[in-house]
């Protein structure tokens, strides 16, 4: 009964989205204010019913309703209750439903928090969001029904959830990622609304900016968590694999990053207009392309859902309508738009343009690396595979000039900047960076001229320069606290995010250079030394979990006779899915991770172990976290709330994102 109600709720949501797509847009062309006013209640109702549908599916999972095919194939009665709930989005159908719900939530958020928008603009944006919703709900309803029953012959036990997905990371990774992907639909809708209206003043950019920042923040967190999850769960200590699906999430992130930066130019200087609109279209288009790549079976990946060409066909037609249509509209409307602002070669405009050049080059690298095998095969040139070495080499060469530019960029003024005033502070930053880099290296490793030192230098340059620039701005604004208060939240946000990038670069460079690993054979009582850490195997015993059995090992780690930690590694055997999973033992510190995973049983009561010491690997995720914090801080900027103080119920962008976070965790 409940699954049928869920199906019904989703159908209502579909009908409401259809109305949302028609009524406010009709109002925007006829000037019918009542039609425009209907946008908000329609958007809220569509979100409510999509939410009910999702809750209905979660209920079916929670109560082990194996008559629902989706539940039977992705859950089992012995699964812990929290994994039963997260199994809701463990399959293609369920995750599509989550996607739909999040999309309607964003739409509802736009309806609630856009009182400062002219009614006309609001109606157009909601109408476009409505049409996107129609597409995705139709896909969910007709092509991937999550509520389908297998009556009258249903299994008495489910197939269990893929053990890889039985992890805390899985609980929050997909919702956050989808918040990001789908959030860019809002920037997209703003851009289309601007195209339809034909007005591209800076207000458009100011309205679109907080939404883009929020989506970008979620995507950053989602990608970061995905990386952390892979590190923990796949059992061999890698944190990024250049897997097609990771790439599919990385491309919108790169273009989204470029978009955040050009939105600043469009807002502050009224230039780069057509470029910003194109980036807004491209970011969401790449999100859609990602969904297509994951769900159509065009590419082979560990993340791919079970595939079906008719689903791929539906998504491709949807892609053609949404992306093709928007780019056509863009081409027709933009021909007449001209930017009038003037700026010199050495100016912040050009610096941000440089950011875009690097971001888009990186996107092109990822795009080609991901899709070239497909192009190659379809052109009949045979199979090729593009792997890590290609991406690693390309990103290595891109990061160097990009970091240098990033250290310089924030110092440069709009319109025009003279060289001379920048030389003393930048020289100081460079000296400080050199000292920090060499100091850090001397403290943790021996000083050598290698990639790690280069990474440290670049990271320190970016980080020191970001700090120095904030310091200088604060001094300009006044002494002490007054100066600190005067500097805008978005400036602090930018600085935090840039420091996050610096931390990320340092983490990657140090980890890739100084990680050591060893495969060893151990019996109880054996000791192995790696990088000065002495690992002693204390005990080996059988495991007995709710839906798995297996083997566990307890180890003790010492360094110079000093006790460091106990480690507990497992190798689990999930009985229903007959899958073996490695639960690595990880001891994390800011300066290094100790990573031990169980290998195979060897003759004579021994096991093979993989031991790794990974310096600075935490910095990679810390960098991502700082970027997300930076985006959140920027969202708090009063600028996004000013001008609208007509009512008390002005939205706070911060509240908004908190609300989303709560929903994502719920």
């Amino acid at each position: 009964m409940i699954p049928e109600l869920g199906q019904l709720a989703l159908t209502f949501s579909f009908a409401l989205s259809l109305l949302l797509g028609v009524v406010p847009l009709y109002g925007s062309y006829t000037g019918n204010e009542r039609a425009l006013m209907l946008g908000k209640p329609l958007a809220l109702a569509a979100a409510l019913f999509a939410g009910l549908a999702f809750v209905a599916l979660s209920y079916a999972f929670y109560t082990d309703d194996f008559t629902v095919i989706n539940v039977a194939s992705n859950s089992s009665s012995v699964l812990p209750w929290y994994y039963k709930l997260t199994a809701t989005w463990g399959s293609h159908e369920g995750s599509m439903l989550l996607w739909v719900w999040i999309l309607t939530l964003w739409t509802a958020a736009v309806a609630l928090f856009s009182k400062q928008l002219p009614l006309l603009m609001q109606g157009r944006i909601l109408g476009i969001m409505g049409w996107i919703g129609v597409g995705f709900i139709a896909f969910s309803l007709f092509m991937s029904n999550a509520f389908e029953r297998s009556l009258p012959y249903f299994p008495v036990e489910g197939n269990d959830l893929n053990p890889l997905l039985q992890d805390f990371g899985m609980i929050i990774h997909p919702p956050l990622l989808y918040m990001g992907y789908v959030g860019f639909a809002v920037s997209f809708a703003f851009a289309i609304a601007a195209l339809l209206g034909g007005k591209f003043d800076s207000t458009w950019a100011r309205w679109a900016r907080p939404w883009t920042l929020a989506a970008w923040m979620f995507l950053t967190l989602g990608i970061m968590l995905g990386s952390w999850w892979a590190y923990k769960e796949l059992g061999w200590g890698g944190w990024w694999f250049w897997d097609p699906v990771e790439n599919a999430s990385f491309m919108p992130w790169l273009v989204g990053t470029a978009l955040i930066h050009t939105l600043a130019v469009t807002e502050k200087r009224g230039t780069f207009k057509s470029w910003t609109v194109l980036l807004a279209l491209a970011t969401f288009s790449l999100s859609l392309l990602g969904a297509f790549l994951v769900r159509s079976g065009v590419l082979v990946s560990v993340h791919s859902f079970a595939t079906d060409p008719s689903r791929g066909m539906f998504l491709l037609v949807f892609l053609l309508i949404v992306i093709g249509g928007s780019l056509l509209l863009y081409a027709l409307r933009m021909r007449s738009v001209r930017s009038q602002a003037r700026y010199q070669l050495f100016s912040r405009e050009v610096m941000l343009w440089g950011n875009n050049v690097f971001m888009l080059t990186a996107t092109l690298v990822v795009f080609l690396g991901t899709l070239l095998p497909l192009f190659h095969q379809e052109l009949g040139l045979g199979s090729i595979s593009i792997g890590e070495p290609f991406f690693d080499a390309m990103f290595f060469y891109l990061t160097i000039p990009f970091s240098l530019l990033l250290g310089l960029g924030p110092w440069v003024r709009w319109k025009q900047q003279k060289w001379q005033p920048l030389i003393p502070p930048l020289a100081m930053v460079a000296v400080a960076a050199l000292m920090v880099a060499v100091g850090l290296m001397a403290a943790t490793q021996s000083v050598q001229a290698n990639v790690a030192l280069l990474g440290l230098l670049l990271g320190a340059w970016v980080g020191m320069s970001a700090l120095g620039e904030v310091g200088q701005r604060i001094r300009q604004f006044g002494q002490g606290l007054a100066g600190i208060r005067k500097l805008s939240a978005s400036h602090y946000g930018m600085t935090t995010a840039h420091i996050g990038f610096a931390v990320l670069v340092i983490g990657i460079a140090m980890t890739t250079t100084y990680s050591v690993e060893r495969d060893v054979r151990m019996q109880v009582g054996d000791t192995v030394t790696l990088s000065g850490y002495e690992f002693t195997l204390l005990d080996l015993y059988k495991l007995d979990g709710p839906n798995y059995g297996g083997e566990a090992a307890d180890l003790k780690v010492e360094r110079d006779g000093r006790f460091i930690t106990n480690l507990h590694a497992e190798k689990r055997f999930y009985t229903i899915q007959r899958t073996v999973m490695t639960e690595a033992a990880i001891h994390a510190r800011l300066s290094r991770d100790l990573y031990v995973s169980l290998g195979e049983a060897l003759p004579g009561d021994a096991w093979s172990f993989k031991m790794q010491v990974k310096p600075f690997v935490r910095w990679i995720w810390l960098g991502g976290l700082l970027m997300a914090i930076g985006a959140t801080w920027s969202l708090l900027d009063v600028r996004y709330r000013r001008k609208v103080l007509r009512r008390d119920t002005v939205p706070q962008a911060g509240e908004l994102s908190d609300k989303h976070k709560e929903l994502a965790h719920a």
């Binding site: 065009v298 060409p309 497909l374 095969q377 195979e600 049983a601």
Partner: protein, 199 residues
């Protein structure tokens, strides 16, 4: 000129979507083996039924044959046994490369040749036996060298021991007619030419 520049994104997108469209209808798993037109990898493996008999590359060359990677644990392999037995009756040489599932002693599994032989015999007696003989790839070493990514997979090897075709998935009348027959025909023609050239 500048006006037309704004159509560039649309054009690029349409170009990409052509590939996405054709990509939908071609299975990414049917990647051509990198070993195509290269000799079979070196190996020295026992016969499944008579382990004292060992097989290697040289013993297999001389006439074209199908090398079929399979296992009793693979349902699709069962399904193709009937049709492949018909092929055998038409005079096509089929050699099995038996791919056992990995066994993890940690979970009380252990490899038993006798049990495996009984399982294989029962299965072949029931569904049909297309194989002249079966090679046991216990450590899956040869399968790895062949780039096997799933079962069943079938390789067409010519008289000189070179791999001429790699097929992922089951062998059924349609696949046979469309893929293998033309290749086999071509193979026989070229080998005649070669025979003529080298008396």
């Amino acid at each position: 000129m500048r006006k037309w520049l704004f159509f560039a994104p649309l054009a690029i997108f349409l170009g990409v979507s052509v590939f996405l469209f054709t990509g939908l209808f071609s299975d990414p798993w049917t990647r051509d083996s990198v070993l195509l037109n290269r000799p079979l990898p070196e190996f020295d493996l026992p016969d499944l039924m008579q382990p004292e008999q060992r097989w290697n590359r040289e013993l297999l060359t001389g006439e074209p044959f199908l090398l079929s990677v399979w296992g009793v644990w693979c349902p699709t392999c069962k399904a193709q046994l009937g049709f492949m037995t018909e092929l055998k009756e038409q005079g096509i040489k089929v050699v099995g490369l038996y791919y056992p599932l990995p066994v993890d002693p940690a979970f009380g599994d252990h490899f038993s040749l006798g049990q495996l032989q009984r399982d294989v015999q029962r299965e072949l007696a029931y569904f049909g036996n297309p194989y002249q003989f079966n090679i046991l790839d216990e450590n899956r070493r040869l399968s790895l060298d062949l780039g096997v990514s799933g079962s069943p997979e079938t390789f067409l090897v010519d008289a000189t021991g070179k791999i001429r075709m790699h097929h992922v998935g089951d062998i059924n009348p349609r696949v046979w007619r469309q893929k293998f027959e033309p290749a086999l025909e071509q193979l026989q023609q070229t080998s005649l030419v070669q025979l003529g050239a080298q008396p």
